[in-house]
Subunit: 459 residues, 2 copies
């Protein structure tokens, strides 16, 4: 705890020192203090201060120095436009060309086309071409998150010469901890870790110590697949290849952590029917705007359920006690449906659910629905009998629960599987959506049964 | 796609070759083929085959060779006991002592105390002590996921001598890409990356090039905090210290990816009220067993709602059309509550919601509830009027929706915040739980208003 507080106090102190240096126009002190910070802390300071204070930063620091923390900026997509517009175009362009290519591409993708094009026009040709090459890849593919700043060597050289290349390229490569081995056609033929290079004899040939079974991913694969591979194989970098196995770039572990975070919170958001749970809302209006589309769809689905009950008004008029159990039955169906949905959505997302085993899952979930339905149904019969003394009513509610839970569990499993087959993200079948759907079917079952056996209910 | 298929075909082929070698007792061929595989693929083969086939593996491979893939085994916690029992105790012990300490501790934590103790008894003293030291740390703390196999040097030595130490320790250290600098008391004073070592002159002193502002974490901090720090600072390894800043161990990025995965799927599971959505169930019974505890709690909460409606039986008898809107109102309250809950739970989990801003969030969510409630309420008034021609009924339902959405949004925000204050994991306030709670309050609002204004409803 003490070390923790010191850290926070230290942060506070640094911030005050930096602000003072800025206001006093003390360039030397500002540079001394600021360049000592970790880029993440530099970025935090940079977004905390006012725009006119940032203008000073552009005078005190070189584009290269700004690029170091610009890569880890934690701001909303829409804010990049304005913050880049603070810099003179040539400064912004220099800054962008000093960033790792994949990060520069990320930033440019957040601008409107015209602004991005204007920076690319005045950028030096080489950097501009690298960026343009990466801008082509579709969002969420391996290509869209890869970088081209990797180290590649050929197999017929010695460890000594490989280390020589590595030392030269270390300042610009995004990672130097894996070195990729390519043939004359730039096809990926092997990989060697810096660890292996370091413990090997200087005269050893790369071909002798490289691993020729390289885990790689094709450029159009989903970024989630890349994340799964890096997690499973504990990789710090994953090579990206085209269909002919030509090495195009690498994905580094820091980008993968962001992907895992992003995908998890995406699934989570959709289960809760909120768009993008991790982007904080500044005011109630922006929060309401994100939630209302879902709520209004669900409202109309709910109206549909209401009109369904409306059709059973005669039944309700005769036995108004039926209404008492509506939320219980609908609620239980919604709950089991959400559980089944979550299992199926995650199974599909993590890739653990292989094609063949999908129908096995449906069968298993059907069984699960029968078991949970039977147990909950039986409990209800007992409770209703003890509470109201009505055995038939108890059975009616109990059997409705059994049937609803069975149907809801199946629906919770089938809907995401079918959506996945139709190439729709199964997570879109959010919890509230499936809940409202299951409200409808469970009410239909309940009132259907009640109307059928009306004569037993009226005494 | 082609490269992909080749990969799968290759896997299939490897598996057949390996099985054939096992059945033919062809040790040489098996070793040749198996040791060529990535540990993750070795692990997949190992858990796929039969126990009697695994017995052969223990004869063909050394404990050290088995330890390589045993670290990345993807089996359920309860299965470790049996799979270790397949090996003779001395073999299992040797295997465990060859694993990285943090991973060996993970495995031992999954066994019963007696079995774990028996392995530690016959293990060599040094390894046993290292493991015992780590076994003390509480689950989910930084200490519980750290390893002690890091490289530490002192500041007053040259790059050359540091590289010498590094080369010697490279075969056993879990990562060599960061080297930690300690003083004579083993206090952490700096860090230097292998990248910096490699590009520096051999005669440079470590003190000149090391970074003295080290991001570290205290040993009792939550593993989620460690994950957030490593993500924010893009670290490959995070040093773990005690309160006096003594270096105790390091956390490596592969462990952090597992933590992020685990925590995300944990939050997701709880939102859906399933225990552990990512552990696949073998049969409907194990799936039902995981879900029933939640369902039964929710069933009794639902019963409570039912008994609440029961109290309004008179109102219902007079105006049975009221029942028609029960699922709509309860459902909408449940949906908004889940949305608000998701935002609050994630905000707390990612640490983005600082203490001070919690009450701001409550205010903002109150505002959001009023806005969504007003819009949905107004829509309902219009729809009910158009559908039933009943303006008063429309207003009753509309106002109930407005009030319910407001209350539900507040509840969805307040419940996790209060739970967090009480040191309970806010994710436990799962979606279905808050939904069922909100069923109850919304029904109370709806029937309360209806009973109050009964005279306007009966015509």
């Amino acid at each position: 705890m003490m070390a923790e507080m010191n850290q926070e106090e230290q942060d506070q102190l640094n911030e005050e020192l930096l602000l003072k240096a800025l206001h006093d126009d003390n360039i030397m002190e500002f540079r001394e203090e600021f360049l000592h910070l970790h880029p993440y802390d530099q970025a935090r300071f940079y977004i905390k201060i006012e725009p006119d204070e940032r203008l000073k930063i552009y005078r005190y620091l070189s584009p290269k120095e700004v690029s170091d923390f610009f890569e880890v900026l934690d701001i909303e997509d829409s804010e990049y436009k304005d913050i880049l517009a603070e810099m003179v175009p040539q400064y912004a362009t220099d800054m962008l060309s000093h960033m790792y290519t994949d990060n520069a591409v990320d930033v440019l993708n957040k601008l409107d086309k015209l602004q991005a094009a204007s920076y690319l026009t005045i950028m030096n040709k080489e950097s501009a071409q690298e960026i343009k090459d990466l801008l082509h890849y579709e969002e969420s593919t391996a290509g869209s998150i890869m970088t081209t700043e990797y180290i590649a060597i050929s197999a017929n050289q010695t460890v000594r010469s490989a280390m020589h290349i590595l030392k030269n390229e270390a300042p610009t490569a995004e990672t130097i901890y894996y070195v990729f081995v390519i043939d004359d056609d730039r096809r990926l033929v092997g990989v060697i870790s810096l660890r292996d290079l370091i413990i090997s004899n200087d005269d050893t040939m790369i071909s002798e110590i490289m691993s020729s079974r390289v885990v790689s991913i094709t450029v159009d694969a989903d970024q989630e697949e890349a994340a799964n591979q890096m997690r499973d194989y504990d990789l710090l970098a994953l090579p990206v290849v085209d269909f002919q196995n030509h090495l195009l770039g690498i994905i580094t572990v820091d980008d993968i952590i962001d992907v895992i975070d992003e995908e998890a919170s995406d699934d989570y958001s959709k289960l809760a029917a909120v768009m993008d749970v991790d982007t904080p809302d500044k005011n109630p209006f922006s929060a309401a705007k994100k939630r209302l589309p879902w709520l209004i769809i669900l409202l109309f689905l709910g109206m549909f359920t209401a009109s369904l009950i409306g059709r059973f008004e005669d039944t309700l008029n005769q036995v108004s006690i039926l209404a008492v159990f509506i939320p219980l039955i609908a609620g239980m169906a919604g709950n089991t449906g959400t559980q089944a949905l979550a299992v199926a959505v995650r199974g599909i997302a993590t890739g653990e659910l292989e094609e063949e085993s999908r129908w096995k899952l449906v069968l298993r979930e059907g069984g699960t629905g029968l078991i949970t339905g039977s147990i909950c149904g039986l409990l209800v019969v007992i409770v209703v009998y003890l509470w109201k003394g009505e055995l038939f009513l108890g059975f009616l509610v109990g059997i409705s629960i059994l049937a609803s839970l069975f149907v809801a569990t199946l629906a919770g499993t089938l809907v995401p599987i079918i959506m996945h087959k139709l190439k729709i993200d199964p997570a879109v079948a959010s919890g509230p959506f499936i809940t409202t759907m299951n409200d409808l079917t469970s009410i239909l079952i309940y009132f259907g049964l009640a109307t059928l056996f009306m004569s037993y209910l009226v005494h």
